[in-house]
Assembly symmetry: C2
Homo-oligomer: 107 residues x 2
């Protein structure tokens, strides 16, 4: 069989498809906020398994799906692992200061 990319074709919204409400909803969850914080702190792409979160794998998948659909993170497939990274450029362009404000939060 030909090597037909069989894995789910990760869908990402274009920059102009990102809405502020979607981003806010995505960030308004402790687990997802933790993921975003880790991605921002690492300043590089991280695999699902490299994330420290207090939930099951399937739940991580769910949260990453939401973050991706909201346009907060991107996913890159490599083998069986999927690397995620923050869409910092797009977010900064659309909502300047938002992400920094969130990350700068003392709590």
């Amino acid at each position: 069989m030909a090597k037909t990319a069989a894995l789910p074709p990760i869908v990402h919204p274009a920059q102009d498809e990102i809405t502020v409400e979607g981003v806010l909803r995505a960030l308004a969850d402790p687990v997802r906020l933790g993921i975003v914080r880790q991605l921002a702190a690492a300043d590089r792409e991280l695999a699902c398994g490299a994330l420290t979160v207090p939930v099951t794998k399937s739940t991580i998948t769910h949260h990453l799906s939401i973050l991706r659909q909201a346009g907060v993170v991107t996913g890159r497939q490599e083998g069986t692992t999927r690397f995620n990274s923050l869409r910092r450029n797009d977010l900064d362009a659309l909502f300047p200061g938002l992400l920094d404000g969130v990350l700068a939060a003392p709590r």
Copy 2:
């Protein structure tokens, strides 16, 4: 009878009680986001009745309560009307750029 402050003593979190997650949750709702946008655009305090939202009055009360508890707005009682305003200073101090980023959102 003494003027026993019978009206609910509007509770507001101190600045250091405000959490970024609380603020994000508060903003992650279309109705509340609309309220915040109107307050920001008006740049002054507005009464509940002066807000243009597609919900019932009792629901407005509910949303304003959440916005208040999150530390996003303050309420000032005057007669039977309650005036609400953005806590812009506190929010800017805690999460610099967050509010501006949200308000600058094209959508």
